[in-house]
């Protein structure tokens, strides 16, 4: 994985010093909260319901064990012994004190981490495929591209006060594991007819109150032009994106209002001008970055078979493993979704145990997924049983990847000052209702996503089943959506009808899954059956009078 050189380290260290200065000015009263707010937001520090929340960037979801141990240590020393992995592959601490924030950033800087641009109206942490560099189906490792973009976007002088936040995802496989087309810019690395790698550019996706799927704006941008092209994409947005209404300020609204063709024309015109400025680094810089992502020293003759004689282990293998590009190796997902648990939470002890496993069995590498799980990307098949036993001993061997228990949920009203409804207790209720592993497996792939408000941090629009918490005359009310997807079959869910209370929505989910079981055809996932049957039969069972 990428390692900082003297320049990267100097930039992050300078940021820590700057923020320490700003916090001192705030604590002394020299800065008002109003004046301080934009400064702390640029460092990922939010003022939430009960305390400060600090969001730490995990660029493209890649971590090493030393970094995860520091995250655990910070959780123990400065928080309440746990952290929360987010749908942007980041980590949030929910109980931070302002006076500690500079020290925490200094601890992070020692292991080449930061909280730069994890909030604010700027280009946010670049997200990617959690299986990057390991997946059997990838064209190439997307992370060198993502790292190039991380550096380009860090403290970008022109794009630090955009109309609204700006999220970029980079993938390089036909299977989309990063919800790429639900980002402001989604990039798919492809190979053209000449065998050259380049970026296919999608613009204008997003969730929030007006969900939209990104449009293809360019089918191929070579690495030599990528930064200039993105400068053009961002400049058109910065100049013409709406600033009169916060709810219409994302780039998706600009594309919707002027149309993708007009946007593309403006970008191409801007690109011709920007390309003359020499903003694109030489190929040698890309190669320098890419060298950090070379394959780890795989054992060439690693055995490709697995002893499946332990039935509980076999179930975990069937559910939580993905195909690795290297024979004899596998990608193992560690579910942070135990029945009744808080999706994405990990204790300091769990983080340390997982760090140990990564160091011993996965070439010191870990990934965070947008579905709020962790991944050991490079495990020898021969080591899987030992890994599973260690996870099982720590309560981390839940075999529910992509099943109904693998719920994405935002922090909701328990933590977030924007939320209208609680997300976590509902996730716990649903995972308890469907706790039976056999029942979960029978329902098959079923992505359930919960947001506690219209901002959609819990990706409810992209859930096969989505839930949106709203406030209805002072009581929490939950709307149900069906048919969304954040994957390569991207689609937006539709609201079934009137909302429910907390127990009512759990009952409604049970009814739609019962209908699926009754009506599914062989091989159909829940979302396939929904797409074939349409909304009506589902509505009938949800709202049937007893």
């Amino acid at each position: 994985m990428y390692r900082y050189d003297q320049y990267d380290q100097a930039i992050v260290d300078a940021r820590v010093a700057e923020f320490r200065d700003q916090v001192e000015r705030r604590l002394s009263g020299a800065l008002s909260e109003d004046q301080f707010k934009p400064l702390r937001l640029m460092n990922g520090l939010y003022l939430q319901l009960h305390a400060y929340m600090l969001r730490v960037a995990i660029p493209y979801g890649t971590l090493n064990s030393a970094q995860l141990r520091v995250l655990a240590d910070i959780a123990r020393r400065y928080d309440r012994g746990y952290g929360h992995f987010t749908t942007r592959q980041n980590l949030q601490y929910n109980w931070i004190q302002l006076k500690d924030a500079p020290d925490i950033l200094a601890e992070l800087a020692k292991v080449e981490m930061h909280a730069i641009q994890t909030s604010g109206n700027c280009i946010r942490n670049i997200s990617s495929d959690q299986y990057a560099g390991a997946a059997a189906d990838e064209v190439t490792d997307p992370r060198p591209w993502a790292e190039l973009l991380r550096q380009w976007s860090t403290f970008h002088p022109e794009f630090s006060y955009l109309p609204r936040k700006f999220k970029i995802a980079v993938i390089a496989a036909p299977k989309d594991r990063a919800a790429m087309r639900l980002h402001d810019i989604g990039i798919e690395i492809v190979r053209n007819a000449d065998g050259q790698q380049g970026a296919r550019i999608f613009v204008g996706g997003g969730m929030g109150r007006t969900p939209m799927i990104a449009h293809e704006v360019r089918d191929f941008v070579g690495i030599d032009d990528l930064l200039s092209y993105l400068e053009a994409c961002l400049r058109v947005y910065n100049r013409f994106g709406r600033r009169d209404n916060i709810y219409k300020a994302r780039i998706k609204i600009l594309l919707h209002e002027i149309g993708v063709d007009a946007y593309r024309e403006q970008v191409e015109e801007e690109f011709l001008a920007v390309k003359q400025l020499g903003l694109d680094p030489p190929k040698a810089e890309f190669d320098r970055i890419a060298a950090f992502f070379a394959d780890p020293p795989f054992q060439a003759d690693a055995p490709d078979t697995i002893d499946r004689s332990d039935p509980a282990f076999a179930l975990w293998l069937d559910q939580n493993l993905a195909a690795h590009k290297q024979p004899g190796y596998a990608i193992a997902t560690i579910s942070l979704k135990p029945a009744g648990g808080i999706p994405g939470d990990a204790t300091a002890e769990q983080m340390e145990l997982i760090a140990d496993l990564a160091e011993r069995y996965s070439f010191d590498e870990l990934r965070v997924t947008h579905a709020q799980n962790l991944v050991l990307p490079h495990v020898r098949k021969a080591d899987l049983y030992a890994v599973w036993q260690a996870l099982d001993g720590a309560g981390l061997a839940e075999a529910n990847l992509d099943l109904i228990g693998d719920i994405i949920a935002c922090p909701g009203l328990d933590y977030c000052s924007l939320a209208n409804a609680r997300s976590i207790p509902l996730a716990q209720k649903i995972s308890n209702r469907f706790a039976d592993p056999e029942r979960q497996r029978d329902l098959g792939e079923l992505k359930l996503k919960i947001s506690g408000c219209i901002n959609a941090c819990g990706h409810h629009h992209a859930g096969h089943i989505g839930i949106l918490g709203v406030d209805r005359k002072g009581t929490e009310n939950y709307q149900l959506l069906l048919g969304g997807s954040g994957a390569e079959d991207v689609s937006l869910g539709r609201i079934t009808g009137p909302g429910f209370d907390e127990d009512g929505v759990v009952d409604a989910i049970e009814r739609v899954t019962d209908l699926y079981k009754a009506r599914r055809e062989p091989g159909e996932r829940f979302v396939d059956t929904y797409r074939r049957l349409g909304m009506e039969p589902f509505k009938e069972v949800i709202y049937a009078r007893p």
Binding site: Y7, Q35, N121, P157, E158, Y161, N238, R243, V274, P281
Partner: protein
Amino acid sequence: MTNSPLRFRDEPEHDEPAVTLDAFLGQSNATAVRIEAGEDARALLPHLDRLALVEVSFPSFRDGRGYSAASVLREAGYRGELRAEGDVLVDQIPLMRRCGFDSFAPAQPVDAAALARALEQQAHVYQGAADGRSPVWRLRHG
């Protein structure tokens, strides 16, 4: 505005008042113009050789359109004074300098010591911009 602007230029302050973009485009002899946040800086490109001062308005520190306006003007070769006026915060001035602003008229007074620290903070930058600083990729590869 009674205070004289913070300037990073050697030549004396331009003494002609800035006119609106409409007024500028409608008359041939003005040498100073003010553009509001929503106005298109590209309209000035045919006239850059007779401009001595462009003042870009920042109605709110959150409104970042002026950063692009400045970049567009500098990229097109404008060498005169480029002033940021309005809700300009001390911690934003380093970014504005990078986009080519060399003069500042903040609505609120700026703490000179905080500004000096802010301008010194980052020895390195990751990307090329109108200030011509070498991005770290150039330092890495010569």
